[in-house]
């Protein structure tokens, strides 16, 4: 009963202050929403990777493969079986289905280890029978079945819930036909490895243990860590709102709390009821937050899925399917956030003295103490950032560096602003100007949290904006270098490729036909591609080299050396002149690193070798793709002739500008998510500023009333109020510019290098800065508008309340 009475008294505050209640709920909701949204995106993608990794129990079974990504000979498979190895063959490959691809996995169900039997191939004799018949049966997920409905050339389809999207399991015989790969085995799976490989096979085959996390998960980790970092940043900025709203409610309810304590409510009961009230609000806001987060994730998922597919080849479905644990985690974050933001107020309620102190507005001393503490913490964090930069390595250290830099700068902000305002006050002449500067200094304590949030949001915007635009500019230049040829051509199969070559050789307008052939291997434990190139000025004149030995190109063309991509060089710590061991089907090939080139956006490492060296060591390499040099004005007619002659599909022959557009589109979609989160963070910072100004505006009437009484018109006071807020926002925005550049440097020189393996040059974009400063001022103007209108419209009665209780 007592609890309900206390709760009723506390809740009555919100009835009288509905705007504050909405602000608190909105703050918690947006913080939870942005965090949950990002987590939903990550969870969806990771579920897809886990499905992909667990196809045929890849996370529990060992594999036997040929080195350098070569195919396994049927004779070797037979030899292994004879030696008592209980291996089962798998054939994998991709086929084109309409606008998308389909991963075909051929299995032999009768020899497949029981662990891999997770798709109910043998669920009933009829299904197994259908699977083994010549017409066959394709197992796909429900979404894939819907996509493939009516497609020609496929077997009848049945669904299996655990399969990843765009993947079909068929009998290996059917897979051979679908993939046009007779008598080919990609790998062998085995439940129990009986021992070392038999003599004679050890050189040609190798055993790989179960892969708990696939290459995909490893490659995309940094992408998801980036998303998580931005989600967390938005969460923290959202908590600034909650902190301000709870702090305001506490200040306003202080007399009520004192009264409750005075009439016998214990500090323990009072704090417990306040805690329960906070938890209830957090759950309400959390529910709304996870719902909004779901909507945000659903709207961003197509872009994320497209980025993951474009960058990593990862297949992530375009619709969300979230586990109940995600909803629970969202509510949990809302509770944790509310407690983190409201903890200080709860502590103050617990320690609240029963009698009000005689001088509640000892602002100057309190501000000096706070500034000293914040300054000391800022210096400590700056030192921590320095330590993370000097001693740390890896992506986590990169984010620790960025977090430390941002928080150190945010903590230093009030001190810097106080110094600027004190300087302004000293230099000011008119009494109202002096007052405006001095008053700004006094308001700083109340506004500093919101200004910190604004500083963080703006500097991250500047940093990310600089990185994205630097990337865009670099990437466009890089594409021009990498895609120097006018036309790119792919044959459907070896026969068509040979026919294309013969046709092209008879065309005098084709000045060069450059093969683009590559083999898959692993370098330094990571997936890597080895490209063969034909020695031609197209490469020597255009290739985006970062470093090259003087005779590097000649040595590569002679088959003695290789060029490596920047990310491979960083991962394997390679420099020009170093030796590199490349696993090939013909054994390990040791080459000299002749140079390093930039290869933006490619998660896998890459090495370039002479075309003859490639075909010598990978005799089975696919020889389907070519780059063609011709007069640019002739490109379209050449494409037209090729299509007419060979009935080529649209994506088999493509001109330079189309492929550049495609590449640019992938990267724009990649950054869509980042830019959206950035904009949301700035919006959240705007709400934080609005909340703080609203908080202050309640106390402002008492501070401004004496000036009004002395003859300063309300309109002028409102003008000064607005000017002061804009001035603080402008100073914050100006300070955010150098900080943003520092963030851009950390992103490009530390985090990008750690995450993706390549480093970008930084370009500055002053127009972008001007827009952001303008945006900050607009945010501040919008946030200050309502409190200023309230002041402008305050009735004399409201203002007169400051002068006494009597009429």
């Amino acid at each position: 009963m007592r609890v309900l009475a206390v709760l009723g008294a506390l809740v009555s505050h919100w009835r009288r202050q509905p705007v504050e209640l909405v602000t608190l709920l909105v703050g918690l909701m947006v913080a939870t929403a942005l965090w949950s949204g990002v987590q939903a995106l990550n969870a969806e993608a990771k579920t897809s990777y886990a499905r992909a990794a667990s196809v045929l129990a890849g996370d529990r079974l060992s594999s036997v493969t040929a080195p350098g990504g070569a195919r396994i000979d049927l004779a070797d498979f037979a030899a292994l079986r004879r030696a008592g190895w209980d291996v089962s063959p798998i054939l994998e490959g991709d086929i084109r289905m309409g606008t998308g691809g389909l991963r075909v996995i051929g299995i032999e169900p009768l020899t497949l280890p029981a662990e891999a039997e997770t798709y109910q191939v043998g669920a009933g004799a009829d299904r197994l029978q259908a699977f083994l018949e010549p017409a066959g049966l394709g197992l796909v997920s429900e979404a894939t079945r819907l996509r493939l409905e009516g497609a020609e050339g496929l077997p009848p389809l049945a669904t299996s819930a655990d399969l990843p999207p765009d993947t079909m399991i068929v009998d290996i015989g059917l897979a051979e036909r679908l993939l046009d790969a007779p008598d080919v085995i990609s790998r062998l799976v085995i439940a129990q490895v009986p021992g070392p490989l038999p003599d004679g096979l050890a050189g040609r085959l190798e055993v790989r243990g179960p892969q708990t996390s696939g290459d995909l998960e490893r490659l995309t980790d940094s992408f998801h860590l980036n998303l998580t970092a931005f989600g967390f940043l938005s969460f923290v900025v959202g908590l600034f709102i909650v902190y301000a709203a709870i702090g305001l409610a506490f200040e306003q309810r202080k007399p009520m709390l004192r009264t409750l304590r005075a009439i016998g409510v214990s500090a323990r009961l009072l704090t417990a009821v306040m805690l329960a009230e906070l938890a209830a609000l957090a759950l309400i806001a959390g529910l709304a937050g996870v719902t909004v987060g779901y909507a945000i994730a659903a709207s961003l998922l197509p872009d994320v899925a497209a980025s993951l597919r474009g960058l990593y080849g990862a297949r992530v479905p375009g619709t969300l399917s979230l586990a109940p644990s995600w909803w629970a985690a969202g509510l949990g974050m809302s509770l944790v956030g509310a407690l983190a933001a409201g903890g200080a107020s709860l502590w103050r309620a617990w320690r609240l003295p029963l009698l009000a102190t005689a001088q509640p507005q000892a602002w100057l001393g309190a501000q000096r103490r706070a500034l000293r503490w914040q300054g000391a913490a800022s210096i400590l964090l700056a030192l921590g950032a320095l330590a993370a930069f000097v001693a740390g390595g890896g992506l986590a250290a990169g984010f620790a560096l960025m977090g430390s830099v941002l928080i150190a700068a945010a903590l230093a902000l009030p001190g810097v602003l106080a110094a600027i305002l004190a300087f302004g006050e000293r230099r000011a002449r008119g009494p109202l100007t002096v007052w405006a500067w001095a008053d700004g200094r006094q308001q700083l304590s109340g506004l500093s949290l919101a200004l910190m949030a604004l500083l963080i949001a703006l500097s991250v915007n500047v940093g990310v904006g600089t990185m994205v635009d630097s990337f865009r500019r670099t990437f466009i230049g890089w594409l021009d270098q990498r895609l120097a040829s006018e036309v790119y051509l792919t044959g459907r199969d070896a026969a068509e490729a040979e026919a294309l070559v013969a046709w092209l050789d008879a065309r005098p307008d084709v000045t060069a036909r450059l093969p683009i052939w590559s083999a898959q291997t692993r370098l330094g434990g990571w997936p890597a591609e080895v490209y063969g190139f034909q020695d031609h000025p197209t490469y020597r004149d255009n290739w985006p080299m970062l470093a090259v030995l003087p005779d590097g190109w000649d040595r590569v063309a002679a088959g003695e050396a290789a060029l490596v991509s920047e990310q491979l060089a960083r991962r394997a710590d390679l420099a020009p002149g170093d030796a590199l061991d490349i696993p090939t089907p013909e054994g390990v090939w040791r080459v000299t690193v002749a140079g390093i080139y930039s290869d933006y956006g490619n998660p896998a490492g890459q090495a370039m070798v002479g075309i003859d060296a490639l075909t010598d060591r990978w005799p089975d390499v696919e020889r389907l793709r070519f780059a063609l040099r011709t007069d640019p004005a002739n490109a379209q007619s050449l494409i037209g002739d090729l299509r007419a002659e060979f009935a080529l599909e649209a994506d088999q022959v493509i001109d330079q500008s189309a492929i550049k557009d495609f590449s640019r589109r992938i990267f724009e979609r990649t950054f869509t998510v980042t830019i959206a989160l950035n904009a949301l963070t700035l919006t959240v910072a705007g709400i934080a500023l609005f909340t703080s100004l609203l908080t202050l505006s309640n106390a402002r009437i008492a501070q401004l009333a004496p000036l009004w009484a002395m003859g300063v018109p309300r309109r002028r006071l409102a003008f000064i109020e607005m000017g002061r807020t804009l001035m603080l926002a402008a100073f914050t925005a100006l300070l955010a510019l150098p900080l943003g550049l520092l963030v851009a440097w950390v992103l490009t020189a530390v985090i990008n290098v750690e995450a993706f393996g390549w480093r970008l040059p930084i370009f500055v974009f002053p127009v972008q800065w001007a827009i952001l400063v303008g945006l900050a001022l607009l945010t501040a103007f919008t946030a200050a508008l309502w409190p200023v209108i309230r002041l402008g419209r305050a009735t004399p009665v409201t203002l007169l309340r400051s002068f006494g209780n009597e009429r």
Partner: protein, 215 residues
């Protein structure tokens, strides 16, 4: 100097008018105590005279200016240049130090006189406190700053609303004595709202409000 003629004022939430046909006058250089029970309308009348609020009916003149006919800007100008206000709550500007607080109204009125400010600071015993902020002052010291601020503009009319209401008797007497001496020397007229018969007796005349009407 001050003429109040048949002034009435009501507030929407109040059951009856706060002021009803109230009239009084005060000549230049004279002092008048306005007394009455709590809720009798003393502060309301003072606020109407200062142009802090608008009358429902009646006339108020300060010098040759009809306050009841002024718009918001005109009333602000009147307060800036002609009227000094001293409140029970002191109402100092907490972000400014004592020196800036003392000079504030005189400066915004364009009437700052350094010699007069120095004299006020000396006579009010504030010389040692000029660099301090209001939060570091006692109640008596804060009220002396408020009086100094109001007089620094050399107002024709000083309005004081329970200026010693927040002070103990000794401090209150000291502050009031100082204020009266300064008012007389500056030639201002003083209208002071007070509950205290004793303090009212120190002024030249008194008017008593009962139920919104001057007796």
């Amino acid at each position: 100097m001050l003429r109040v003629n048949c002034v009435s004022k009501s507030y929407p939430a109040a059951e009856r008018p706060v002021l009803s046909q109230a009239s009084l006058s005060l000549d230049a250089g004279r002092t008048l105590a306005l007394t009455g029970e709590s809720g009798s309308g003393k502060s309301t009348l003072l606020h109407l005279i200062a142009g802090l609020d608008a009358v429902d009916a009646g006339e108020i003149s300060v010098g040759n200016v009809r306050v009841d006919r002024l718009d918001d800007a005109g009333r602000a100008q009147l307060r800036r240049e002609t009227i000094g206000l001293v409140f029970q709550q002191f109402n100092l500007i907490s972000s400014l130090d004592v020196r800036a607080n003392l000079a504030f109204q005189a400066r915004i009125a364009g009437r700052f006189d350094a010699a007069w400010q120095a004299e006020l600071a000396e006579r009010l015993g504030l010389e040692e406190l000029l660099g301090r902020y209001p939060e570091a002052l006692s109640g008596g010291q804060q009220q002396r700053v408020a009086i100094g601020r109001a007089l620094a503009v050399r107002p024709a009319l000083l309005l004081a609303d329970e200026p010693t209401g927040n002070l103990d008797e000794a401090s209150g007497d000291a502050v009031l004595t100082l204020m009266l001496a300064l008012v007389r020397d500056s030639g201002s007229a003083l209208l002071m709202v007070t509950h205290s018969e004793r303090l009212a007796g120190l002024l030249d005349a008194r008017a008593h409000l009962r139920g919104g009407t001057l007796a």
